[in-house]
Symmetry: C2
Subunit: 375 residues, 2 copies
Amino acid sequence: MFMTEEGFKVTPWEVKGRIDYDKLIKQFGIEPLNNKILTRLKKHTKDLHYLIRRNIIFAHRDLDWLLNEYEKRNKFYLYTGRGPSGHTHLGHLIPWMFTKWLQDKFDVKLLFQITDDEKFMFKEKLSLEDAKKFSYENILDVIAVGFDPKKTKIFLDTEYSKTLYPQAIRVAKHITFSTTKAVFGFSNESNIGQIFFTSVQAVPAFLESVFQGRNVPCLIPLGVDQDPHFRVARDVLPKLGYYKPAIIHSKLMPGLTGNGKMSASDPNSTIFTTDSPEVIERKIKNAFTGQQATIELQKKLGGNPDICSVCQYYKFFFEQDDKKLEGIFEGERSGKLLAGEHKEDLAERAIKFFEEHQKKREKAKDQIEKFMLRD
Amino acid sequence: MFMTEEGFKVTPWEVKGRIDYDKLIKQFGIEPLNNKILTRLKKHTKDLHYLIRRNIIFAHRDLDWLLNEYEKRNKFYLYTGRGPSGHTHLGHLIPWMFTKWLQDKFDVKLLFQITDDEKFMFKEKLSLEDAKKFSYENILDVIAVGFDPKKTKIFLDTEYSKTLYPQAIRVAKHITFSTTKAVFGFSNESNIGQIFFTSVQAVPAFLESVFQGRNVPCLIPLGVDQDPHFRVARDVLPKLGYYKPAIIHSKLMPGLTGNGKMSASDPNSTIFTTDSPEVIERKIKNAFTGQQATIELQKKLGGNPDICSVCQYYKFFFEQDDKKLEGIFEGERSGKLLAGEHKEDLAERAIKFFEEHQKKREKAKDQIEKFMLRD
């Protein structure tokens, strides 16, 4: 699953090429979110989140089982996380907002893991100090999303290791180097911290069961690139007497500059939560739209919303009304919507959103300790 | 260094065959304790410990450097440890008594690591709960040895992981799987906790420097089978800005049943600190002496003290007076000392020693918290 034979590569640490999600579903062995399971989900949530309606939240593992348990009043908890390699960007916020929707709809607890250890071990030049600094920056964004402080617990791996490490070694005992080679593509030159790490990421998938001293179902909303960790964890956890966690997978938000995932390593590909209005405007003005070479040609031939990053930004976040989104897409297809206007409108919405977010982010500074899980 | 091509094998987890220590010195690349370094050591310690005089403490790394620093008033600290896979036996106590001698002579701090994580990950059937139970059993023996509670700090890896884990990943980032394969003989089927573990064992070799915020020399007295861990750590620590730890190596105490290291997996090969006088007497009566097949032959031909486990028990611990030891060895060689008498005398001394030790061990039960380092 880490080979590029199909023209793309998806691992927790590298996403390359244009992902064919149908192929990925087969590669990873995950289930598409079909009508049957969505109908069942909707029975509990009343409506379906726009990310689900748009097939951006597109796949799952064992969601049927999770709903069975829920219907038997065996309530689940949510677990998601963040690798703090830099500032938070829009590509991170969107799955968190979806996670908050799940928390609100099901009224459940959330464990939020900040993997500063991971980023330190995988980024050659990142110091532990910087990973920690980014962790606390990122936590402000997590809090700004509006999670319920009574039901949400955030922790850093390095700060919470008194709890995590003794659990991680229980997992590690059941994972061979062979497995990590096959699943993550590690080599003999991988460092031994990288090799060990997946056992740390597995812990929150059963930690609530440890806390409660009984088996508690877990649902992990994640970007599909993180799935390999839990493919391994799902093999191990039953050996420790825990449920396999259920998973709900999100597609990766495309970058502003064209194909591929938004990436902090290409700052123009995404909008960071700390960007000023000027920077947001510039980034969107420089965005890739895939429109024709001239205005005349665009008016005549139209553009392709599927490769237009501005259209995709509306789809992923900035236009949550499906009819209005279709209007925008139609404008792009028909050639009526020209790049300049298209971008100006998006920039306006983005600036407004991030101004709001930054206010919440400021307020979050006083709330950190309410959210932190410390040992 | 983990191959058996020379008829023996020494790794931290397996000792096989009769160790040729001259060959091991070359294999491991360690320095014999020659007269020059011993004379220098004696300048500070006034006398030399019987284990040094008998070449049981037989090799080192960078002891010259450590004494240079000491003479420049850059005092070192000691670090040693224990893998809690079972009850403590005599083979463990002896290097601890040597460590206490070093602590007394140099008036230095000792960090004592209990690697319950290691034993859990390397012993398929050992639970974490049992590793912890053995840890606290073993700690009683450590305390009974008489370490200075003001200068000695003991910790369990799983309980002290808030401090250890963030330091261990700093080490892990610099160690590849290739290195652990070459040094420890790991394979693709090794579990990822085993592979990671050496980075946890490395931490106490620089932890005092972390505590003090300045570089503090470290001396590690250890059984030579543990050297591979620090061969790796000595490569990594300078990259983190710390000194390479100095090491002083002990030979492995032979078992009562014949060749090889004393081993908790063969309970008759050693005396546990919890053994009753009856058990001690039985084990020693059944010990291998290498004497001739009959009393007549023994009187005529004599025995070989180098393979006689009773003689070796005197040498390693029960007769610390060199002249008296030579008398015992001579008795064995000449055939004057017969197995029955030989064993009875040893049993008497052993029973007396362990009775004393068990009293101290009882007293230690109230002292544990004085020694524990907790985070």
